[in-house]
């Protein structure tokens, strides 16, 4: 176990209302999330000296973190934007730990918001992924299709079916229906999943995550400082990252991803194993992502995910509840920051609707996944 394991903690979380927020802007959602987080933590903005943001895809500032700090009354001694797509929220927590350990800051806010369900008229310039011009001339445009490549390949290698992927969507929706702050509130059946239209085959609409407005923030500080704050501190026990390729063109495989080595590093730092986890919040931009992540994080063998996910095993009350908030598929797509806030709330033990509370949760694992299946970050959280 690393000597950093358990030394730092999340002491505040803020989650805005998600879904359609036509009255809000990308900027206002960020500040709203920070306010909610600081209120939860009992910490004033004047005490915050670190801020980490996810470079907004639609509204690029030279340094969004610096801009945002001064929109939120924060005078940072440490601030930067991170850009690892859906792995960014977890990378923010990791960078917060490193910054505090290095003496650069004492209270670091990690925040991300996006506005994708309703228009944001704020002027700005778009950010590109980088390789579009080697894909678009052949009609290849989307994150859906890159993940559909992985699904086709997983089906070819292991016999996984579209109905198997549907089970992930169905279980995730069950959890969303227990979460008052989830966009989707209507139960889904495998038949509903199969009847949803094909987007990029083999992926159907219900294999795809939502487009959402909303934001969330977390406050990280030392366990020493956490003891003086009102909320039960949730410790950072393990951290890992792995980024094994940069596009679908240089990926050595699309059925084992950065999730394997990243999770191994996080478990090692925590001194824990998959069997010690009480829940998993796994990045679910598409159902296939969750399936591969379950395998790579060691909950079953490679290729066995299709059988593992059945019989309620990934639902609250099952062996390893996955995405107890409804995930990107059915709660909201905020690039996974609500996977982290949900993990914290589950470990606090009294902050989510009772029907989706994992009873007696002491440790959980969270994944972030970004780009063309090329970026991955892992976090093990726990309480004493």
């Amino acid at each position: 176990m690393s000597n950093l394991s358990g030394k730092y903690a999340v002491v505040g979380v803020g989650e805005t209302q998600v879904g359609k927020r036509p009255e809000a802007t990308t900027n206002s959602l960020h500040v709203e999330a920070i306010r909610l987080c600081l209120e939860d933590a009992g910490v004033d903005a004047s005490q915050v000296d670190g801020l980490l943001t996810n470079q907004p895809l639609t509204d690029a500032h030279r340094s969004y973190a610096v801009r945002l700090a001064h929109m939120a009354g924060i005078d940072p001694s440490y601030a930067t934007d991170l850009a690892l797509g859906g792995a960014t929220p977890i990378a923010m927590i990791q960078n917060a730990v490193m910054a505090i350990e290095a003496g650069m800051a004492n209270y670091v806010v990690c925040v991300h918001a996006r506005k994708r369900a309703t228009p944001d008229p704020t002027p700005g310039y778009p950010i590109r992924s980088g390789d579009e011009h080697w894909e678009q001339p052949w009609g290849h445009f989307s994150a859906v299709a890159n993940h559909a490549f992985a699904a086709t390949r997983h089906m070819h290698e292991f016999g996984t079916t579209s109905e198997d992927l549907g089970q992930i969507a169905v279980s995730t929706r069950k959890h969303a229906c227990m979460n008052r702050n989830a966009t989707m509130q209507k139960p889904m059946s495998i038949e509903d999943h199969q009847n949803s239209r094909l987007i990029v085959e083999p992926l159907h609409l219900f294999d795809c995550s939502l487009e959402s407005d909303g934001g969330a923030a977390l406050l990280v500080t030392s366990m020493e400082r956490a003891r003086d704050l009102p909320k039960r501190p949730v410790q950072v026990l393990g951290m890992g990252q792995h980024h094994p390729h940069s596009s679908v063109m240089d990926a050595p495989t699309l059925t084992t991803l950065g999730s394997r080595k990243s999770s191994e590093a996080a478990y090692r730092m925590a001194g824990l194993e998959p069997k010690d986890m009480d829940f998993a919040q796994f990045y679910d931009c598409f159902t296939i992502t969750t399936l591969i992540t379950i395998e790579d994080y060691g909950f079953c063998g490679k290729g066995e995910g299709k059988d593992f996910i059945k019989d309620g095993r990934i639902e609250v009350g099952g062996e390893i509840p996955v995405n107890t908030h409804g995930g990107l598929l059915s709660q909201a797509h905020l690039e996974g920051i609500m996977h982290v806030t949900e993990g914290v709330k589950q470990l606090r033990g009294n902050e989510v609707e009772p029907e989706r509370q994992v009873q007696g949760a002491k440790a959980g694992v969270i994944s972030g996944h970004g780009g063309s299946l090329c970026m991955h970050a892992s976090l093990v959280l726990g309480v004493q």
């Binding site: 310039y125 778009p126 390789d131 080697w134 989307s142 490549f149 992985a150 987007i199």
Partner: protein, 147 residues
């Protein structure tokens, strides 16, 4: 660039259908294709074939000495998908259409299309060979099942 040209309706970089022929490191690729020659970069230092997209230095030995060399044009399908939605108007009347990851026999992988057969007949592991699709300003390498 105006906002309307640069953004899609959700504010992301707007898609385009044409290659960027002016990309400095890729010019030989497009020039050779005009002559119906599929070429890839190979390092003169260590012999490694480069992955796409093109780059100036070898990712294995960091040598800047490399050249574009012809390949057989034969490859296999690593994975494939069928688009049922068009992200760009140029593809609206083509759906459902195939996009494949083609592993060339020499190693590098291209994103391309398998043509000449219906999308539901494409298979992982299928042997394919290059065909050249001429446009006014450029030529695209596409693939058909090997004879």
């Amino acid at each position: 660039m105006s906002k309307t040209e640069a953004h899609d309706k959700r504010g992301r970089a707007a898609p385009r259908a044409e290659p960027f022929l002016a990309e400095m490191e890729a010019r030989p690729f497009w020039d050779n294709l005009k002559e119906h020659k599929l070429t890839v970069q190979r390092c003169n230092g260590c012999g490694t074939y480069f992955n796409f997209p093109p780059q100036a230095l070898c990712a294995k030995c960091l040598s800047s000495d490399n050249e574009w060399v012809p390949v057989s044009g034969k490859g296999t399908i690593y994975s494939f998908v069928t688009y049922h939605r068009a992200w760009h108007p140029a593809y609206q009347d083509q759906i459902p259409y195939n996009v494949s990851l083609v592993d060339l026999d020499e190693g590098p992988r291209l994103v391309s299309n398998v043509i000449d057969i219906p999308p539901d007949e494409v298979k992982v592991g299928m042997a394919v060979e290059v065909v050249y699709e001429d446009h006014e300003e450029y030529t695209l390498p596409k693939f058909k099942p090997s004879a």
